[in-house]
């Protein structure tokens, strides 16, 4: 119980990973280990990061510049190629040659490790479509670019900043995971848009069914647009209604559909969403507490909110919300429906506590503290790396690692340049400008919650990184299977729920599978512990 009350900070994390008492629980008999699964995977952990396009982190993979003094990255010999930034894209990029980009016209350029903290790019539902320019992928500076001005410094003074990419000297840990486990270069955000649609797609594949409830002001189309049948599709970042931490200055929303949590509850499969800052009883070292908790990073250079309600998708559903941030009654109750009203919504510290005590839920979604979630303008790849490596080091030392799969996925692209597109679902709202005025043309149109094809779900959106780290992940493997954010819930459905789907127009029924990233014929003994500062393998 001690861990429950402990604010999770860098030092605490080191303490946790350094000396974990695994206790004497007989792991073979815990519910999640005896539950029936279609694969050897008994625990899925989704680390849901913020705001990265595939090319932004992996476009240069596996070649790093390796300047003196930076964590060095040298690819293994048989490293497969990714669909990344070719010579042509690097030297004669359409975003450089297209004059509409004006002063922002730029070829992709390397962001140095010293440039880890950048300005946030634009990642609106509409702006991203415009940047795609009907698949020409040549208007990023103009539409999603943002200069290095406030908030947050950046290295580049024009909107060409959007063309920046990192290499293995900055995203060192992720590149090292890719070297030892499986990476996908063909996975997309389910639809266009910012954090909230991405988070909602992750758990339900359905952003339609929005209901405004609470908060001030008019609902603007850029937050939730008319779906064509009198309903609303969420395409922006409204806070969830009634969450104790939601802003009252703009409209709040709930959703009427169902999510993966509902399905897992019906089958009594243990699960939880664990988010940094969720425990409002904690007081941080700087004296902040409750919803006002903030944490500091010297790379960001300021305090950033720990908990952001619009990153917590289960809060938008009455059936899975914990609006008052009720604490679980005990560590043993975490993940169960008998958790005293916490309702499967917990603090990130509860994850460490639960796993440490032998109560490792079957399905866990992790969201870092704001300062460590990787979101430009508020966080950065190095603080994100600290979080990811802390979690993965911790889990790989667990006796249950042998049946665990960690999926690293992202909510949206932040607007960063990526050169690939895959449009599968249409929409014809005024804000849709992908392929013409009020037009996002695609082969299909999935129904909304009321059963008819709805507007506001133009997608897929930008290509995002996706990695699987697991003893069953194929080592140094690049998967090209077309997938999207809902491929993750599809895997959960296939593994625990006998292939049951959320239905009602959820993307899950069409999602590609991530199974090709695994080899279930037998586990490897691969354990890759990484330095939480450098991302380099620990000796």
């Amino acid at each position: 119980m001690k861990l429950l009350k402990r604010p999770f900070l860098l030092t605490a994390a080191a303490a946790i990973t350094g000396a974990v008492a695994w206790g004497t629980v007989d792991l073979t008999l815990t519910a999640q280990n005896v539950s029936e699964t279609a694969t050897p995977i008994k625990h899925v952990v989704v680390i849901f990061g913020e705001n990265v396009s595939f090319d932004h982190y992996f476009g240069a993979y596996p070649k790093a510049l390796n300047p003196i003094g930076q964590p060095r990255f040298m690819a293994k010999q048989a490293t497969p190629a990714v669909n990344g930034l070719t010579e042509e894209l690097l030297k004669n990029n359409p975003n450089f040659t297209n004059p509409v980009n004006a002063a922002g016209a730029t070829n992709p350029f390397r962001l140095d490790r010293t440039q880890a903290f950048t300005a946030d790019q634009s990642h609106g539902y509409q702006a991203e479509q415009q940047a795609f320019n009907n698949g020409a992928m040549d208007m990023f500076p103009r539409y999603t670019g943002n200069t290095g001005a406030v908030p947050g410094p950046g290295p580049f003074h024009t909107k060409g900043l959007v063309m920046g990419y990192y290499d293995g000297n900055t995203v060192t840990a992720l590149w090292n995971y890719a070297q030892n486990f499986a990476l996908s270069d063909n996975s997309f955000g389910t639809t266009f848009g910012p954090s909230t649609p991405g988070a909602i797609n992750l758990i339900s594949g359905q952003t339609n069914g929005g209901v405004r409830s609470g908060g001030e002001g008019e609902v603007r189309p850029s937050t939730a647009l008319d779906d064509g049948f009198g309903g609303l599709t969420i395409i922006g970042d409204p806070d969830p209604s009634d969450d104790a931490c939601s802003t009252t200055r703009s409209p709040n929303f709930m959703l009427t559909g169902r999510n993966i949590g509902d399905l897992l509850n019906e089958k009594k499969v243990s699960w939880g969403w664990f988010q940094g800052g969720f425990d409002l009883t904690v007081t941080n070292p700087n004296g902040t507490t409750g919803c006002a908790r903030t944490s500091y990073s010297p790379i960001v250079g300021s305090y950033v909110k720990d908990y952001m309600p619009h990153h917590e998708p289960f809060q938008y559903y009455r059936s899975t919300a914990n609006p008052k941030h009720v604490r679980p009654k005990s560590v043993v109750s975490i993940g169960t429906s008998d958790d005293a009203g916490a309702n499967h919504q917990y603090d990130i510290n509860d994850f460490y506590a639960a796993v440490s005590s032998g109560n490792f839920p079957a399905v866990s979604f992790l969201k870092a503290l704001g300062i460590q979630d990787g979101h430009p303008g508020l966080s950065d790849p190095l603080d994100e790396q600290t979080f990811i490596t802390t979690v993965l080091n911790f889990l790989q030392k667990s006796p249950e690692w042998k049946s665990t799969a960690v999926i690293l996925a992202y909510d949206d692209s932040d607007g960063w340049y990526d050169h690939a597109a895959r449009i599968v679902n249409s929409s014809y709202a005024a804000l849709d400008l992908l392929s013409g005025s009020a037009t996002c043309d695609a082969p299909a149109a999935l129904p909304g919650v009321a059963g008819k094809p709805v507007n506001g779900r133009c997608g897929h959106g930008p290509r995002l990184p996706l990695l699987v780290v697991s003893p069953y992940a194929k080592p140094n493997f690049v998967d090209h299977t077309p997938t999207d954010q809902t491929s993750i819930i599809r895997f959960i459905e296939d593994n625990w729920l006998g292939g049951q789907r959320i239905g009602n127009g959820s993307f899950d029924e069409r999602a590609g599978v991530i199974n090709n990233m695994f080899d279930f014929s037998g586990p490897t003994n691969s354990v890759l512990l990484l330095d939480t500062n450098t991302g380099l393998p620990l000796k």
Partner: protein
């Protein structure tokens, strides 16, 4: 050593900076020496910082005005520094120190309206209604008044830029400073330097074919030098050691500290924050980063002041443009840190004062004996706040001590007390015990 560690983290290079550069000497340009802890980018920035060939005159580098042996402040007692293509121009304001800017917040007014990662637009700060006096931002006015519309942050005396990169643009392109006619002119010089190949290596072989990119990277490198090199934030003053329990203050220094803190006497700490943040992340910055109008006397040494219609109004211009029409912000300048203030020989935005004694006397006597500080009109009356147009003189802070006195009152500090405060201020000089950053 904790602080060194933080700045090293800030450097984002993973390596801990365990030692200040111990061998830098105290003559004028000592630091051509490489600091092995710097990243490749910051090393480029260091070379830019000391490179005179990047100025139109060929006689000026960043280090000329921001002298490393003077806490990156001005190297002499001139109110403002010479510059321009033939070194015949004159900068408009006294040179601020580049030290201890690493936690400087972006410019803002009042509470931040920025909602992180949200497509909902934040509410942008609105300037106070006409007639709202910045004096009402004073520390001891009601909290609502104090918090509502206080301008704060940003770099330069008027907070007009937010990042080191943007700050560096100013001197490179200012016709009275390094006087490059354009970014391209600067890049032309940069390409001829010995370290130009370092640029190509780090930022791409074709970096100079994209001037916007090259210029940005040059400014970034410069900024990175300031972020990474410990000499910009050594935190090794006697006061730092005193806070760490490793040194004790003399009786006079301690008396000075008490007067510095006392809200009814010096009241210096009201704006020059002298305590660390609760979690120890921020050591005392000796500024609250906020803006205030102090009514500093006009300085005839500044050539522009020979035009009686010319006024330097700080936040509302002339260098800054965005608040030019907001009268209640006219005459406000940003509060600088007091770290190393005792090493300076020129003070305030216009360099009106040349010694700390003068500065402190001005503070305590501005209201009690204004005739000592301002010129007399023909009718014998004193023209108080003579470096501000009459319309903006009401913006001057007359609420907080030591400005809350009336003509003829006793000043809040006497000469001996002023001497004590100065003794305390000297404990803010870096390099205590000889480790010269």
């Amino acid at each position: 050593m904790k602080l060194r560690r933080l700045s090293a983290l800030a450097a984002a290079i993973g390596a801990l900076v365990l030692f200040a550069v111990g061998n830098a000497t105290r003559h004028d340009e000592p630091e051509e020496k490489n600091n092995p802890e710097l990243s490749a980018v910051a090393e480029l920035g260091r070379q830019i910082f000391f490179d005179k060939s990047l100025s139109a005159s060929g006689e000026q580098s960043c280090a000329t005005c921001h002298s490393p042996s003077h806490a990156y402040g001005p190297p002499n007692g001139a109110s403002v520094q010479p510059g321009g293509p033939a070194m015949k121009g004159q900068g408009g304001r006294a040179v601020p120190s580049l030290r201890y800017l690493e936690h400087n917040p972006p410019f803002s007014i009042g509470p931040s309206g920025f909602i992180p990662d949200n497509d909902e637009p934040g509410t942008s700060p609105s300037p106070p209604k006409d007639g709202t006096k910045p004096a009402s931002f004073a520390k001891n006015s009601t909290p609502a008044g104090a918090e509502a519309n206080v301008p704060q942050g940003g770099l330069d005396w008027d907070g007009r830029v937010d990042t080191f990169q943007d700050q560096a643009k100013g001197p490179f392109l200012d016709p009275n400073e390094m006087a490059n006619s354009s970014p391209e002119a600067l890049l032309g010089k940069l390409q001829k330097t010995a370290y130009a190949d370092g640029f190509r290596k780090l930022f791409g072989a074709a970096v100079f074919d994209q001037p916007e990119l090259a210029f940005s990277e040059a400014l970034f490198a410069l900024s990175r030098f300031q972020v990474e090199d410990p000499s910009f934030h050594p935190y090794d003053s006697k006061y730092d050691e005193y806070l760490a329990g490793k040194a004790s203050l003399t009786e006079r220094e301690m008396r000075g500290l008490k007067l510095f803190e006392d809200p009814k006497r010096g009241n210096c700490a009201a704006c020059h924050i002298h305590k660390a943040s609760r979690d120890g992340v921020f050591q005392p910055a000796f500024t609250d980063y906020q803006f205030v109008s102090l009514g500093v006397p006009r300085n005839p040494e500044i050539l522009a002041n020979s035009d009686p219609r010319y006024y330097d109004l700080g936040l509302c211009g002339p260098l800054r443009k965005d608040y030019a029409r907001v009268g209640s912000y006219c005459g406000l300048f940003k509060t600088p840190t007091l770290r190393n203030v005792a090493t300076r020989s020129v003070f305030f935005h216009n360099g009106s004062f040349k010694s700390l004694e003068e500065v402190l006397r001005f503070y305590v006597q501005r209201e009690t004996q204004p005739e000592k500080w301002y010129p007399k009109r023909a009718d014998g009356s004193v023209e108080k706040y003579d470096d501000l147009p009459a319309a903006y003189r009401g913006n001057v802070d007359v609420i907080d001590a030591p400005f809350d006195r009336k003509r003829g009152d006793l000043p809040s500090l006497n000469d001996s007390e002023i001497a004590d405060v100065i003794e305390f201020l000297k404990t803010l000089n870096d390099g205590f015990r000889g480790h010269k950053p």
